[in-house]
C-alpha cells in the first residue's frame, strides 16, 4: 500500500479532513490506522469531504482518499446488503465489489450531478440486482442523441446540487413515519408493492397511495423551496 502519496486537498477542504489524512500517514505501518480512524469518528466526514476524496481517486487513484471512502461507505453498503436479506459474508463480498467499481469509475463522478452517497447507492443497487436477481437495471444513456434534454431553467432558478440535498433532507424529515417506513421497505426489502402489502397486512391500494403521497410531498417540498429560493433571489 502506498500511503506516502499525498492527498491534495483544496484550500477550502475542512481542516479535520487534513487531520485525519495526516493521522493516517502518521499511523500507517504501525497498525494504528483503524484506531486513528475510529478515534476521529468516521461520521465526521461531510459530503464535501467525500466529494474531494472521490475526485482525488478519480484524478490520480489516490489511495489515502480511497481509504477514507472505504471506511465511510463499505460498512454502510454491507449493512444495506444485510438488510436485503443476505449473509454477512455475501454482504461483505458485495461491499468489496462495490468499492472496486468505485475505484474504477471514480473518474466519471460528477459532483454537480450527484452527491457521493447517491452515486454509491446507484452502484451498490445495480450490483446487488445483478448478484441476487441475475437481472440488469436498464438505464437511459445521458449521451444518447435520442435523449430529450431538460428545458433550460433561468440562471436564478438553477438549484445547486448541495442545496437540493438540503431540501430533500428537510422534506424527508417532515414525512409521517408510516410513509417513511414504506420508503425504507421499498429501498431495503427488495419487495414488490404487493409483497409489502402482504407483509404489512394492508391493501395494495393503500401501499400505493401512501407511497404516492410521500413522493408528492417530497416533490412539492422541493418545488416550494425552489420557488422560495427563486423569489428570495429576485427580491
Amino acid at each position: 500500500m502506498n500511503l506516502k502519496r499525498e492527498i491534495k486537498l483544496s484550500p477550502a477542504a475542512p481542516s479535520y479532513l487534513a487531520l485525519v489524512v495526516n493521522n493516517m500517514h502518521a499511523h500507517a505501518g504501525q497498525g494504528g490506522l483503524e484506531q486513528s480512524m475510529a478515534k476521529s469518528g468516521e461520521d465526521a466526514f461531510s459530503a464535501d469531504d467525500l466529494v474531494l476524496c472521490l475526485q482525488a481517486v478519480g484524478a490520480r487513484q489516490d489511495r489515502a482518499a480511497f481509504r477514507v471512502l472505504f471506511d465511510h461507505f463499505a460498512p454502510r453498503i454491507k449493512a444495506y446488503i444485510i438488510k436485503l436479506g443476505c449473509s454477512h459474508q455475501q454482504a461483505e463480498e458485495l461491499a468489496q465489489e462495490t468499492m472496486t467499481k468505485v475505484w474504477n469509475k471514480a473518474g466519471q463522478f460528477d459532483a454537480a450531478k450527484a452527491a457521493p452517497s447517491t452515486w454509491m447507492f446507484r452502484i451498490a443497487r445495480n450490483l446487488r440486482i445483478d448478484a441476487f436477481r441475475r437481472e440488469n437495471h436498464p438505464e437511459f444513456d445521458q449521451n444518447d442523441p435520442s435523449l430529450i434534454p431538460a428545458e433550460e431553467r433561468p440562471a436564478d432558478q438553477v438549484v445547486e446540487q448541495k442545496q437540493s440535498e438540503r431540501q430533500l433532507l428537510a422534506a424527508m424529515a417532515e414525512l409521517p413515519e408510516e410513509q417513511m417506513h414504506l420508503l425504507r421497505l421499498s429501498f431495503f426489502q427488495d419487495m414488490s408493492h404487493g409483497a409489502i402489502a402482504d407483509h404489512l397486512n394492508i391493501p395494495l391500494g393503500t401501499v400505493k397511495s401512501r407511497l404516492r403521497l410521500a413522493m408528492v410531498k417530497l416533490r412539492k417540498k422541493i418545488d416550494d423551496n425552489d420557488q422560495m429560493q427563486a423569489d428570495g433571489l429576485s427580491r
Binding site: 500500500m1 483503524e34 468516521e42 481509504r67 471506511d71 463499505a74 460498512p75 454502510r76 454491507k78 449493512a79 444485510i82 454477512h88 454482504a91 461483505e92 461491499a95 468489496q96 472496486t100 475505484w103 474504477n104 469509475k105 473518474g107 466519471q108 452527491a115 452517497s117 447517491t118 452515486w119 454509491m120 447507492f121 443497487r125 436477481r133 437481472e135 440488469n136 437495471h137 436498464p138 438505464e139 437511459f140 444513456d141 449521451n143 444518447d144 442523441p145 435520442s146 435523449l147 430529450i148 428545458e151 430533500l168 424527508m172 420508503l183 425504507r184 421499498s186 429501498f187 427488495d190 414488490s192 408493492h193 401501499v207 400505493k208 407511497l211 404516492r212 413522493m215 417530497l218 416533490r219
Partner: protein, 218 residues
Amino acid sequence: MRTSHHIPDEMLLAYAAGSAPEAWSLIVATHLSLCSDCRAVVGNTEQIGGELLDSLTPETLSEDAFDLLMREIDSQAGKQELPKAPSTQIPSVLPEPLRSYVGGDLHALKWRRLGKGAFHIPIATKDQSAQARLLKVPAGNPVPMHGHNGEELTLVLTGSFTTHQGKFQRGDIEAADDSVEHMPVAGPEEDCICLAVTDAPLKFKSLGARLVQPFIGI
C-alpha cells in the same frame, strides 16, 4: 413537445430503489430518455436512497478487508472504466436502453404478425414476472378491446393512440390495471409503435381474440 402522461410515482420509486423487475425497469428507463420531468424525480428518489444508505448503522468488515481489496485492485490494474460512447450519433426512433434490448433501431426489427394488421416483437429480459414487447398497430386501426389481469404500461414511440383518457403521443405512458377496460385506437397520421409491459396475460373480450391468444403469446 413536453410529455403529458408519465410513469406512476410508485413505479418510479420501485425503479430507483431497484425493486422493479427488469421488464418494468426497461419501460421506465426508456420513458426517462424522453422525459426530463421523470428523470428529475428518479434523481431525487435515488438521492433518498443515498441518504438512507448514509443513515444505516455501519456493519464492521473483517480486519483485512481493505488490504484484500487493494490487492484485488492492484491485480486488475488498468481496468479504469470510461463512459461508453453512444451506439449511434444520429437520433433514432428507439431511444436507449430499448435500442440495445432489441438490437438496433426500427430498420433492424423483425415484426411478427399478430392479426388484424397488428404486429409485435417480444423482448427478452431475465425477468420471468412480466413481459415486454413492441407493438405496431396500423394507422387508424383499433387495438382489440381488452381488460387486464394485472398491470400494463404502454409507451408510445411513433404515431399516437387515443382512449377515453385522451391522446397518447411519443413519450407518453398509458398505465392500465384490472380496473381498466380500454379500446385504444391508433391515430391516422402513421403506424403506432409502442413498448408495452404486462405482468399477466391480457383478457381479450372477443372469442376470436381469446382463441388466438395462446398461440401468439400475449
